[in-house]
């Protein structure tokens, strides 16, 4: 059997695939976090809980309304995004201009409340969600057996990330968003209703998290903790990529997924700390992150 530094190649490729899949979730989550922090100045600690809410929404849509995976992929981001808009209108908007600590504490509290509510109703055991029929099975690529669904997750995530990037970097609306991130009062003085832009941006960031949650439902068990476990890592990724940088978040998301997986192969003991080592190293040499703009 072929080996790489004494590691069997199939194991190596298997981990690499796992890394890309985790990276897909990291990328979609860090993208939303990064855009939200850039425009609102809010460290959105409720992001993980909203990702989890997306997964539960898919489960509930199926269980209660008989709506399958594809319906959920379209509806859950809308439903959870609308919930996000409510959070922004009712709670977050009172915190703009205050110290970041207020937003951090509020969103952490919200995350605990939401997770508690789901635990209360569904327990913490975890619920199973089936892979959609169209994506059952796997294909043998020669060097690795690729389950269709996992390939689709990476593909969908890439498409979603690229569309988001294009929306922000290449459209009039995106230019307004970037401008408001730099200097909101001036954008408002041009006649643009910045508060509406802020609300929609938060809703869209939350919808991205929910979309990731739906994609995650068939892979991980749907449980109230699934977001909390992810969010700390995703934060480190946003810091590494550079707060407010879109491409930075996506690249560091996928990149870190792969680094984490390779660490699992070569030095498993470090696989859960490697992200924080990366973060410290990046902050030492590039305090604004790998892709961050120096302010």
């Amino acid at each position: 059997m072929d080996t790489l530094f004494g590691i069997p190649l199939p194991l190596f490729y298997g981990q690499l695939l796992l890394g890309l899949i985790n990276g897909a979730f990291y990328a979609m989550l860090s993208l939303g976090l990064s855009v939200i922090f850039g425009l609102l100045g809010i460290v959105n600690l409720v992001h993980g809980a909203l990702f989890m809410t997306g997964a539960f929404t898919a489960w509930i849509l199926l269980d209660t309304f008989g709506l399958g995976f594809w319906w959920s992929l379209a509806l859950a981001p809308l439903i959870v995004g609308a919930f996000g808009i409510l959070i922004e209108r009712l709670l977050l908007r009172h915190l703009y201009g205050l110290d970041h600590m207020y937003g951090l504490v509020l969103t952490l509290g919200l995350a605990l409340v939401i997770e508690g509510a789901f635990r209360n109703k569904y327990g913490s055991g975890g619920l199973a969600y089936q892979i959609p029929d169209a994506l059952r099975g796997a294909t043998n690529l020669g060097f690795i057996v690729l389950p269709y669904y996992r390939g689709a997750v990476v593909g969908i995530s890439l498409v979603v990330c690229l569309l988001t990037w294009a929306l922000i970097e290449k459209t009039r609306l995106g230019a307004r968003l970037r401008a408001a991130t730099e200097n909101a009062p001036m954008v408002q003085a041009f006649g643009i209703n910045v508060p509406v832009l802020v609300t929609l941006t938060y809703g869209a960031g939350v919808a991205l998290a929910a979309c990731a949650g739906v994609l995650a439902a068939p892979i991980y068990s749907v449980n109230p903790q699934m977001g909390a476990n992810l969010i700390i890592v995703v934060f480190a990724i946003v810091v590494i990529g550079g707060m407010g940088s879109i491409m930075g978040s996506v690249l560091s998301g996928f990149g870190f997924g792969v680094i984490e997986a390779l660490t699992k192969v070569f030095y498993p003991q470090a696989s859960s700390t490697v992200i924080f080592l990366c973060m410290v190293a990046v902050l030492l040499f590039r305090p604004s992150g790998l892709f961050g703009r120096r302010s």
Binding site: R172, R176, P185, A189, F190
Partner: protein, 228 residues
């Protein structure tokens, strides 16, 4: 066109404007002159609703704007070009130029803007932050000419610029006034203000204390009024 009455403004606890009052007719170019810290910038910002708190009356074309949000003031037809120019570094030159939405008819076409500012055409694809100081000022003004706003508030458009560029901006102001724009200008450069504006308001400690119309010996009268 614009009637400002007893305009007062605060930054937190500091009371900055103590009742600014002045009028501008359609098609006029007027200047606000005064020492550093007199409240000229604050006057412009509070017309736009950019100060945390303001009272009094700001009427534009008969419409009261004192309770309007900043974007509503802009939509009523007033555009503001700030002292620091506020070119967005993460936007290209053309994105900066197209950022302000059209709020009415009568704005300049992109072609007309490029005729006034040929440099911007060459720089269109570049990053806004890479422009020289003069080019940034031109972009900052060009940006608000497209929108259809008919009253322009320009805060120190010549600040820190080389004499040739100052001259170019003077010509540009003449050219846009011929197109019917109304302009309020804040200036440290009294000579420049005397040359381009029809009337001058002297701002002192958060109030308008004097009005001087251009005529013979304007510069001397302005200098006397400003005690410089």
């Amino acid at each position: 066109m614009l009637e400002v009455r007893d305009l007062q403004a605060w930054y937190g606890d500091s009371h900055i404007l103590h009742g600014v009052t002045f009028d501008i007719q359609e098609g006029e170019v007027v200047s606000l002159l005064g020492r550093n810290g007199a409240g000229k910038t604050t006057t412009m910002k509070s017309i736009m609703g950019l100060t945390p708190r303001r009272t009094g009356s700001v009427k534009f074309r008969g419409k009261e704007l004192i309770d309007a949000r900043t974007d509503q003031v802009a939509r009523a037809g007033i555009a503001f070009c700030p002292e620091e120019r506020a070119i967005f570094a993460s936007l290209t030159v053309i994105e900066n130029l197209l950022l302000p939405p059209r709020i009415g008819d009568g704005g300049l076409s992109l072609e007309a803007i490029y005729e006034l500012f040929p440099n911007l055409r060459e720089r269109a694809g570049g990053q806004g932050s890479k422009l020289s100081g003069g080019e940034q000022q031109m972009l900052a003004i060009a940006r608000i000419l497209r929108t259809g706003a008919r009253l322009l508030l320009l805060d120190e458009p010549t600040e820190g610029l080389a004499p040739v560029i100052v001259h170019q901006i003077g010509r540009m102001i003449q050219s846009i006034r011929q197109r019917g724009f109304t302009i309020v200008l804040v200036e440290q450069n009294v000579r420049f203000a005397a040359a381009v504006a029809d009337r001058h308001f002297i701002v002192e400690q958060g109030k308008v204390t004097d009005m001087i119309a251009s005529g013979t010996g304007t510069l001397e009268r302005l200098q006397a009024s400003l005690r410089i």
